[in-house]
């Protein structure tokens, strides 16, 4: 059963085709990875699904509901969570506060103007639970801006998970990470429950092939190929893009 369907999705910036009539269907529980060279329109595609960008035309169906052009907060509430390619966090707030804001949106009452946040134990314990899951339990009091880059990437994931998504969009989760951090991230993503569908953009081919159920290749906004990892690695036009020569 598909959880996300893109139908003739198109996005233009002036004369530039960022997304060129993309059709794609992603099954519930699938780990789907989008690859493609720089400027292929991968992030633009993700931004349309999560609402940061409004598509020029076409449809985006999430659990059979049209979400194309909805505000990001509506799409989030419907069950699409995401991380950003460049760390996009509350840098001057603590790690706990970063995650707690996302937990509050899902489980608390943000309009509460009387009870101090620190006294809402349920919000705090849920936030700590998520932080322990991503391995930041003992860093909760630190300010996000003082964390290492890799730790900040983990906060990204923690915030996305705190929105309790059914579909998780990861924009290059291992970008800028050390090999050790990358390894941890891969095993972390691999261990996420299959009730969660994951659509991710990734450059590191080792990561791609160790996580993907299926791979889609994007090139100049067009979907060049979709298929199982073995099919994609045999695909000639894909090899051409990545190696620059036909074999």
């Amino acid at each position: 059963m598909s959880i996300l369907r893109l139908v003739d999705l198109t996005k233009t910036f002036g004369s530039l085709l960022a997304t060129d009539c993309v059709n794609l269907s992603i099954d519930a529980g699938e780990r789907h990875v989008i690859i493609g060279p720089n400027g292929a329109g991968k992030t633009s595609l993700l931004n349309q699904i999560s609402g940061q960008l409004r598509p020029t035309s076409g449809r985006i169906l999430f659990k059979d509901v049209e979400i194309a052009g909805l505000a990001p907060e509506r799409i989030c509430k419907l069950g699409v969570g995401r991380t950003f390619q460049r760390n996009n966090l509350f840098n001057r707030l603590s790690v706990l506060d970063n995650v707690r804001l996302a937990v509050l949106a899902r489980r608390g009452n943000p309009m509460n103007a009387f009870v101090p946040m620190a006294r809402l134990a349920a919000l705090e314990s849920r936030s700590v639970e998520i932080l322990e899951l991503v391995g930041l339990g003992d860093r909760r009091a630190a300010l996000v801006r003082t964390l290492s880059y890799g730790e900040q990437r983990q906060v990204e994931i923690a915030i996305a998970l705190a929105t309790e998504p059914d579909l998780l969009l990861l924009d290059e989760p291992t970008a800028g990470m050390s090999p050790a951090e990358t390894g941890q991230m891969v095993s972390f993503v691999a261990a996420l429950p299959r009730t969660l569908t994951i659509l991710m953009i990734e450059h590191d081919m080792q990561v791609v092939f160790s996580l993907a159920d299926r791979i889609s290749v994007l090139h100049y906004g067009r979907l060049l190929a979709t298929g199982a990892p073995a099919e994609i690695s045999r695909n000639e036009s894909v090899q051409e893009i990545y190696l620059g020569t036909a074999h």
Binding site: Q52, P72, N88, D97, L101, P110, A113, F114, V115, T163
Partner: protein
Amino acid sequence: MPERTDAAGLPATRIVTILRYAGVTLLAALALVPLGLGDYARSIVAEVLLFCIFAMSLDLLLGFTGLISFGHAAFFGIGAYTVAVLGAQFGLHPLLGALVALVVAAFAAAVIGFFCIRASGVYFIMLTLAFAQLLHSVAFKWRAVTGGSDGLILRSLESGVTTYYVIFVAFLGVYFGLRRLIAAPLGQVFIGIRENETRMRAAGYATARYKLLSFVIAGCLGALSGALFALLNGFVSPAVLFWTLSGEGLIMLILGGMGTLVGPIVGAAVFIGLKHTVSTYSDHWEFVVGAIFIACVLFFKQGIYGWCREILVRGPRS
């Protein structure tokens, strides 16, 4: 985590305790002002307190929600004129007038905010300024109701001491109310919007709604300070709606330090204090304030209070 200490080895928690004692002492002193000070000095303290409310309300927008309003005089003026007009035209008691002013301001802020929050950055600044100037010209031209440039005279309370305590209680209410709000989820959402609005939206917050709410709360409290100003002065003129007052609010925040509640209080006290002390020696008091303002912007980016706190917590920079 190791406890942070200052240069003298004082733990950060002890500094918080020291600041708390200083605050309590200050509040006690403020409560006793009418016993120890004459009419003139008392009215100046009252003026400082009501401008503290004005500055704190602006700080909710600027320092906590990240919305730079250059039209906060609009709400100060709405508060002042509501009290004055209702008093002069219908003989309404000024304290009742102040309550009506809160309702009028909430409505006006909802309407003005509805348009302003659609814009961001410079456009937001310009829109807030435009709305405030619009109201200023209404107050100026609509002579039948507002008295135009002659302004309106209103009935004052029974005694100056009563007025002082009304303002003091309002100040306490606003300070502790806002402190509560900022620690609560709603305030934390405002701070989240200030820090990273894109991220808040991606986490499921309809940020426009929260920004409007912040605008309305700030507008109401701004109107409260205006209403108290009318009460204290017994006279209201279009100056209470002029853009220079919005600018003075911003100067108070930058002087004192925004993003805290004590900062605006320090800023308002310094600004009004300087205005009254320097202006007795020279007509060019704005020159002195200007120089201090420039020094603050260049050297104390956190404002006077932020700078003091930094020194207390971390020790002077070597």
